[in-house]
């Protein structure tokens, strides 16, 4: 019932989602009673849970995209979520007060924003102003 260390190791090299960087891992060998270190990609089982985190984010983003298309939320919400930010953090990066950021999440207020404010958001969210105002998915 319990997975042996052996079959965990066997699964390490197949179906890896992420192969960008090798890290250092410690482990304990039960048979030899000793600690070992090795440099390798993240374990396959752990890659699954890392991917789960990204999948959930992706789903939430898709949902917000639809809300922006329906005009319920401003594109700012979409880019904020894409950058994994929430209001306090976006306020920190853009230097715009929290209560104003909250207002700008509504299309009504967002559409009246000056170039100046838009530029602050654009640089905080790493996206050109033109995209921020009019994201590609609205044009389709």
């Amino acid at each position: 019932m319990e997975p042996s260390t052996k079959d965990k190791d066997a699964s390490v090299q197949e179906d890896l989602v992420y192969r960008n960087n090798r890290e250092l891992f410690y482990s304990f060998d039960k048979d030899k009673n000793c600690y070992t270190r090795k440099v390798d990609y993240q374990y396959q089982a752990n890659q699954v849970i890392i991917k789960q985190g990204w999948d959930v984010l992706e789903e939430r983003l898709e949902e917000i995209k639809q809300q922006v298309i329906r005009g319920e939320k401003s594109p700012l919400v979409y880019f904020m979520e894409k950058n994994q930010m929430e209001v306090p953090m976006l306020s920190g990066y853009s230097g715009i007060r929290k209560w104003r950021v909250k207002r700008h999440l509504k299309p009504k207020h967002f559409n009246r924003l000056s170039q100046d404010v838009l530029e602050k958001y654009a640089s905080a969210l790493d996206v050109p102003v033109s995209q921020l105002k009019d994201p590609d998915f609205l044009k389709e």
């Binding site: 019932m1 319990e2 997975p3 260390t5 965990k8 989602v17 992420y18 960008n20 960087n21 090798r22 890290e23 250092l24 891992f25 410690y26 482990s27 304990f28 039960k30 009673n33 000793c34 600690y35 270190r37 440099v39 993240q42 374990y43 089982a45 752990n46 699954v48 849970i49 890392i50 991917k51 789960q52 985190g53 990204w54 959930v56 950058n83 994994q84 930010m85 306090p88 953090m89 920190g92 990066y93």
Partner: protein, 333 residues
């Protein structure tokens, strides 16, 4: 322009790795596990009222910065630790430290770190790395997560040093100013073990230490009913990510702590610690089972024996093992 002869060595955990590498630069070969043990880095806390990425916060370690602060103090190292309000003055201070021949540890946010693997691109503000030089407008970085030394521009470095959000680093930089010629590890190690034992079994508060593990186990049994399949699975995933993801060296620091006890047994010449390091290894493997079966649950491949109840039972088992281990360790002298 200056470039120091700094050994880039990968480590399991960023802060203890940085501390070990900095001490190594100043001529003391103290391994990462020993630094982690002296810094009393191991912990457990489950704080459901603090949400991180929309899920309750679980942590397997102490507050960021504590490992360096504690380890350096206990080893008699005199350090300079600074935080800044102003971006330019933080960079000037970094330049002048580098030019006087000190490699510098920095606390940074990982979201805008250009050399970081994309799958780890999260707003994690408690990451640590070493700057060991600057040339042609680039800073030379030794990041213990990354295989090779890296480079970063002035602008990018400012951005990660002044990352916003929870635990914002505020430009925090730290480095040993003077390191004693002879370091006596023995009292530092005993002290570190006592501190960790207290943290794990001595604090009368239900959300931390061994009690915290039990609390999490109790909560976990209710998740499915309370939140539904999807959210429960996401919450579980978040616990596993904190346990196994980046910088824990595996099993929420339990492997690295066991390796520390193993080394400590030789340094202190107390063979009973060897026994306990083996118990810690078994315990760490149990945590590994938890994350392995848990990840199958997240993948929706769960068999009945991988249900939340079953996972919670593994947690209780770990809690019991750790209670025994740390009660014994608290008697160290």
């Amino acid at each position: 322009m200056s470039k120091l002869e700094f050994d880039h060595r990968q480590a399991g955990h960023c802060e203890s790795g940085v501390t070990s590498n900095l001490l190594n630069y100043h001529g003391h070969k103290i391994s990462e596990p020993v630094v982690f043990g002296i810094g009393a880095g191991l912990f457990f806390s489950y704080l459901p009222f603090l949400k991180m990425q929309h899920a309750p916060m679980t942590s397997f370690r102490v507050w960021p910065g504590q490992v360096y602060d504690r380890a350096s103090k206990k080893l008699g190292v005199v350090s300079r630790i600074q935080r800044f309000k102003n971006e330019k003055s933080s960079m000037d201070a970094l330049d002048s430290a580098l030019d006087s021949g000190f490699p510098v540890g920095l606390q940074v946010g990982t979201f805008h770190l250009p050399f970081f693997p994309p799958e780890y691109r999260m707003h994690y503000n408690m990451h640590n790395m070493v700057v060991y030089g600057h040339e042609n407008g680039h800073y030379l970085i030794s990041d213990t997560v990354i295989e090779k030394p890296a480079k970063i521009t002035y602008e990018d470095l400012v951005r990660v040093r002044f990352a916003k959000g929870p635990f914002a680093p505020q430009g925090r930089m730290y480095y040993p100013l003077s390191v004693p010629k002879e370091i006596d590890l023995i009292p530092a190690i005993i002290d570190g073990i006592k501190k960790t034992s207290y943290n794990m079994v001595g604090i009368p508060f239900p959300l931390v230490g061994v009690n915290g593990i039990r609390y999490l186990a109790r909560q976990m049994r209710k998740w499915q009913k309370k939140y539904g399949d999807q959210k429960a699975s996401y919450y579980l995933g978040q616990v596993l990510r904190m346990e196994e993801e980046i910088g824990t060296a595996g099993a929420g620091f339990r492997f690295i702590y066991g390796a520390f006890l193993n080394e400590a047994a030789d340094i202190l010449n107390q063979s009973w610690l060897k026994e306990i390091s083996l118990e810690m290894g078994e315990n760490a493997n149990r945590w590994r089972d938890f994350s392995y079966l848990g990840s199958r649950n997240c993948k929706k491949r769960a068999k009945p024996e991988e249900s939340y109840d079953f996972l919670a039972d593994i947690l209780l088992d770990c809690a019991k093992k750790e209670e025994i281990i740390f009660k014994k360790l608290s008697k160290i002298r």
